[in-house]
């Protein structure tokens, strides 16, 4: 009969495991990083800055924030709570209002020929604007796009936008491209 190897005492196993457990418990920070993702426009060489590409006025929604954290949309003061509705109306232009963005028919997978609006949202802020409000505005605008995408996806597939597969998402993105342009920061009045 083969000789039995003596059992390794495993009583201390729990203790070591506990020690590691406590180490990880203490060093853990649970917060996952999340936030609003944006792409910055690529740098432009100085000599090339000119306003060659004029965009028609009806295609632009101008959002201004001044240094007193006041919001102005299309030359009218506005409260942040109304911004999303305004932006949605602007992006979608359901009634083909001549004051809202014009549309061009493009071929989109799954949808065939679909009128895509040429909307651009121009966001301009002062150096004195608070970052909190700036993020809120970004958030409201992103929400407007996301809601429109969701609505379209519900109508077409009866699913939420997030549940679509990649190609379907891309198709919807082509219909509602998120085009938020940020002007170079200006310093309206007063030093920083």
């Amino acid at each position: 009969m083969a000789r039995k190897t003596p059992d390794i005492p495993s009583a201390s196993l729990a203790d070591t495991a506990f020690m590691m457990l406590i180490f990880f418990l203490v060093s853990t920070t649970m917060d996952t990083d999340a936030g609003i993702s944006r792409m910055l426009p690529p740098p432009v060489p100085k000599e090339e800055i000119n306003d060659d590409q004029k965009i028609k006025e009806r295609n632009v929604l101008i959002v201004l924030i001044n240094r007193f954290d006041q919001l102005m949309v299309e030359n009218e003061p506005m409260h942040i709570s109304e911004l999303k509705k305004k932006a949605k109306e602007f992006i979608e232009n359901p009634a083909d209002d001549p004051n809202l963005p014009e549309k061009t028919v493009k071929e989109i997978p799954f949808f065939g020929n679909y009128p895509v609006s040429k909307q651009v949202i121009s966001l301009q802020n002062d150096r004195g604007t608070s970052y909190g409000l700036y993020v809120q505005v970004q958030d409201e605008l992103a929400a407007a796009y996301n809601e429109l995408r969701n609505e379209l996806s519900q109508k077409k597939w009866g699913k939420r936008y997030d549940d679509l597969d990649k190609e379907q998402q891309d198709a919807i993105k082509k219909i509602y491209p998120q085009s938020i342009s940020e002007a170079e920061p200006k310093n309206y009045g007063g030093k920083k």
Binding site: D33, T129, S130
Partner: protein
């Protein structure tokens, strides 16, 4: 069938602890997997704003962080109470950002550089001036993917 000790008194048999390590290991693995180590010692205090349309940052290793906020109380004597930029473990100026991004890039594979994201952790009371400066600086070095770090807000509609 039970075996009794010499004392003869009836005792409650000890609860077997042999499964204890297993339980503890399970917890241990949970924490090991979910753990993210603190990246740096924060020298600025910041309270990031809330937003609802947020995306999780993927691939933590490809994220570089820029912190902006008021210096913490113990640093206020030396650095004042105006919002400052913190890179790694030290206060920095706007012009240091290019070097910082460059040094982050050198640690990564060449293929991964376009995927790198810069996470801006900015206090909500900061003025946009300093944030714009940082963004301009990031544009100059073509670090175009940015993420405004926020907390999750639930929309009520």
């Amino acid at each position: 069938m039970g075996k009794f000790r010499d004392g003869g008194k009836k005792e409650v048999p000890a609860i077997s602890t042999s499964s204890l390590p297993d339980v503890v290991y399970m917890l241990l693995f949970f924490f090991m997997v979910s753990t993210t180590m603190k990246e740096v010692d924060l020298k600025v205090s910041m309270n990031v704003p809330m937003a609802s349309e947020i995306k999780k940052l993927e691939k933590k290793s490809l994220v570089s962080y820029i912190y902006i906020g008021k210096p913490k109380d113990k640093f206020q004597k030396a650095y004042g109470s105006e919002p400052r930029i913190q890179l790694n473990d030290a206060f920095a100026d706007v012009k240091d950002i290019a070097d910082y991004i460059e040094s982050e890039r050198q640690q990564k594979d060449e293929k991964e550089i376009p995927l790198m994201t810069t996470s801006l952790k900015v206090d909500e009371d900061t003025k946009m001036g300093i944030v714009s400066d940082v963004k301009q600086e990031l544009r100059k070095v073509s670090a175009l993917k940015i993420n405004y770090s926020t907390k999750k807000k639930v929309r009520n509609n």
